[in-house]
Structure formats: structure tokens, C-alpha cells
């Protein structure tokens, strides 16, 4: 990978890596540091990446970095608290403030539920349900067999349903 390919890869995947880190850590500032670190590592290892899927490599390194950060900083986290980008999206998406607030509340509940998942369930749920990766892409990124990924995904979803059942019960009845 030369510097031009590197720049292209940064532009292509920076939001996805950042999004993964935000949902994993629930903290935007830490997610920024993780994203920066991931791409620095990408460049510093670019000689050894021939034939390796950039997406799989990036998500694998992002996950490992997130785990490191999570172990070292067990702070109160809130995705909603300083969501300046979200405020910008309100104007861009032409959502009403009420709709945006409602969406934020739902996302806060989702984030809390995600925080309750252990690894690798959390990574797998984020990659599958939020990032929209295919099963084989998740297997490649996390270096896990397909059956294992499916089992963890199932357990993660079940936990999420338990966590969110009361919240959604009112909407579903």
C-alpha cells in the first residue's frame, strides 16, 4: 500500500472505524483517539498488508484498540451528552427537534444495552447490526469461525432483546 492508497483508505473507512469505536466505547473523544491510532498503525504496517482486506484489518485493530481503551478507562460514558455532530444532522436530515430527541433517547437505550454486552458479542452485534457487515466479513475481521460468530450474535441479540423489551413494550402494545 503506497501513500495514495493509504489516503484513499483513510477517506473510505474513517467514518466506519470511528462509528465502530463510538458504539463500542460510548465515548466520542476516546473514539477519535482510537480512530487516529488505527490509521497510524495502518500506515506503519502498510508494507505487511498485501493481500489483506483493509476493512477486516481496520475493524480488527479498531476492536483491539477499543478493548485496550475500555480496560484502561472505565469512566462514565455518554454518547448523547456532547453530540455536536448530531445537532448538525438535525438540520441536514430535516428532522424536527422532537423527532431528533426521540431518536436520541432510543439510541441512548441502545448504547446502554450494547454496553452490557461482553466481548466478542458487542463487536459482533455492532459489526452486523449497525455496520451491516456480512457474516464472512465479520469472521475475517475478528478471525472467528462462522459458527462461533453466529452463536455470539444470537446471544448478543437475545441479551439486547431482554434489555430493551420493557422499553419497546409500550411501543409494541
Amino acid at each position: 500500500m503506497d501513500s495514495t492508497e493509504f489516503e484513499h483508505t483513510v477517506r473510505r473507512y474513517r467514518d466506519r472505524v470511528y462509528g465502530f469505536a463510538v458504539h463500542f466505547l460510548g465515548d466520542r473523544r476516546e473514539a477519535e483517539d482510537v480512530t487516529q491510532e488505527v490509521f497510524i498503525r495502518l500506515w506503519n504496517h502498510h508494507h505487511n498488508l498485501d493481500g489483506v482486506s483493509a476493512q477486516a484489518w481496520l475493524f480488527r485493530v479498531a476492536r483491539n484498540s477499543c478493548i485496550d481503551v475500555y480496560r484502561h478507562t472505565r469512566l462514565q460514558r455518554s454518547v448523547v451528552s456532547d453530540d455536536e455532530a448530531g445537532m448538525e444532522r438535525v438540520a441536514a436530515d430535516s428532522q424536527s427537534p422532537d423527532q431528533w430527541t426521540e431518536q436520541q433517547i432510543v439510541e441512548e437505550h441502545l448504547q446502554t444495552a450494547l454496553d452490557s454486552l461482553s466481548e466478542p458479542q458487542r463487536s459482533i452485534v455492532i459489526l452486523r447490526e449497525i455496520q451491516g457487515l456480512k457474516y464472512d466479513e465479520i469472521c475475517q475481521a475478528l478471525q472467528l469461525p462462522m459458527a462461533t460468530v453466529k452463536v455470539y450474535l444470537h446471544r448478543g441479540r437475545r441479551t439486547l432483546r431482554k434489555q430493551l423489551s420493557e422499553i419497546y413494550a409500550a411501543q409494541l402494545t
Binding site: R12, D15, Q36, F39, W43, H154, L164
Partner: protein, 202 residues
């Protein structure tokens, strides 16, 4: 029909885990045509099953609809700076901000140690008895003015170290309480041309 009354693949197993898997497979549209028809028949007659499916669909939709965070301008600028350095030098890139943050934790200890040493040194010099110098044995060859000069040089060196320690402490405080240290040095340029590849689910 209670959840555990739905029989397993072989018609004998009746655990909740398999039931959950069926619900998820239905929501993910991963059931075969025959399985989907059979599941649909049960769905039509089982209110509890419908509630489970509705919940699974709701959770899945909510996760899929979760807003995808976009890199803030400050991060884009940092990443652009990394790309530029990669273009310019082709060498290893050092994470300035994260490295500094990691160093900041050590800096507090280092600065505190330096300040403690300085304080102890100054205290020892200032409390030194005045007649100590007169106890220097004549065979050492040092005269009183030489000893006084050495003491002044030691005090001068301690003052320099003290000043350096003060600056280190201020820098550490700044890094701890002002988390945006280093961003000002990054050019605030954002290239809006993003190549976003649409995601296709399996």
C-alpha cells in the same frame, strides 16, 4: 402457545434457545421457503410468538437505524495531517496527541518527583549550619571562597531545575485539564470528498 412449545428441528427438542434462533432466522429472512411457511402458520395463531417477532424486528430495525457517527472536523484534520506526513516522508508516523496523553500520566509522577527533590535539596542547603565549611579538613585542598562558589553554583543549578519543573508541571496540568492539546497545531482542512461504499447485507 408458550415459547418452549415450539418443537425443534427434529420435532423433539423444545428449548428457548432454538426458539430464539427461529425467530431471528425469520426476522433475518434466513429460513428456507418451507420453514418460512411453517413459521408463518404458527405466527398467525400464536400471539406470544408475534410479540417475540415484533420485538426482534424492533431491536434489529433500531440498531440498523442507529445514526452513523461522522468523523468530526478536528479528527478529519488529524487524519489528513497523517496522510500528508505519509505522503511527504513515507516514514513511520507518530501519534502526537495520543502519545502525549499516555505520557501525561507519567509526567505527573515525574514532575512531582523532580519538585520533591528540588524542595529537599533547597531545604538541605538552606538549613546547613554556617560553621560546616570551617570543618573542612585542610588536606582536602579547598579554600573557603571555593566552597562558597560551589554552593552558589549548586543553588543556581537547583533554580534552573526548579524552573524546568514548574514548566513541566504547567504543561501536565494543561494536558490534563485541556484535552485538546495538540489539535491547534493540526491544519484545520477538511476534504469533503468521501468515497462511501454502500453496505450490502448478506
Amino acid at each position: 402457545m408458550p415459547p418452549n412449545s415450539l418443537n425443534g428441528r427434529d420435532g423433539s427438542r423444545s428449548d428457548g434457545s432454538w426458539f430464539d434462533e427461529r425467530v431471528e432466522a425469520y426476522v433475518d429472512a434466513e429460513l428456507s421457503a418451507d420453514e418460512r411457511v411453517a413459521f408463518g402458520r404458527r405466527l398467525a395463531t400464536d400471539a406470544r410468538l408475534r410479540a417475540q417477532v415484533a420485538l426482534a424486528e424492533q431491536v434489529s430495525l433500531s440498531l440498523a437505524a442507529t445514526s452513523q457517527p461522522v468523523c468530526p472536523d478536528s479528527l478529519v484534520a488529524r487524519l489528513d495531517a497523517i496522510s500528508e506526513r505519509a505522503h511527504d516522508s513515507g516514514l513511520r508516523v507518530t501519534p502526537l496527541q495520543t502519545a502525549w496523553r499516555k505520557f501525561a500520566g507519567w509526567s505527573v509522577g515525574i514532575a512531582a518527583s523532580i519538585l520533591l527533590l528540588i524542595f529537599a535539596g533547597v531545604l538541605a542547603v538552606s538549613n546547613r549550619p554556617q560553621n560546616v565549611v570551617s570543618h573542612i579538613a585542610p588536606e582536602t585542598g579547598y579554600t573557603q571562597p571555593e566552597v562558597d562558589q560551589a554552593l552558589r553554583e549548586v543553588k543556581f543549578a537547583l533554580a534552573i531545575v526548579s524552573e524546568a519543573g514548574r514548566h513541566t508541571g504547567a504543561a501536565v496540568m494543561e494536558s490534563v485539564f485541556e484535552s485538546d492539546v495538540g489539535e491547534a497545531s493540526v491544519p484545520a482542512v477538511r476534504n469533503n470528498s468521501q468515497d462511501q461504499t454502500p453496505v450490502n447485507r448478506q
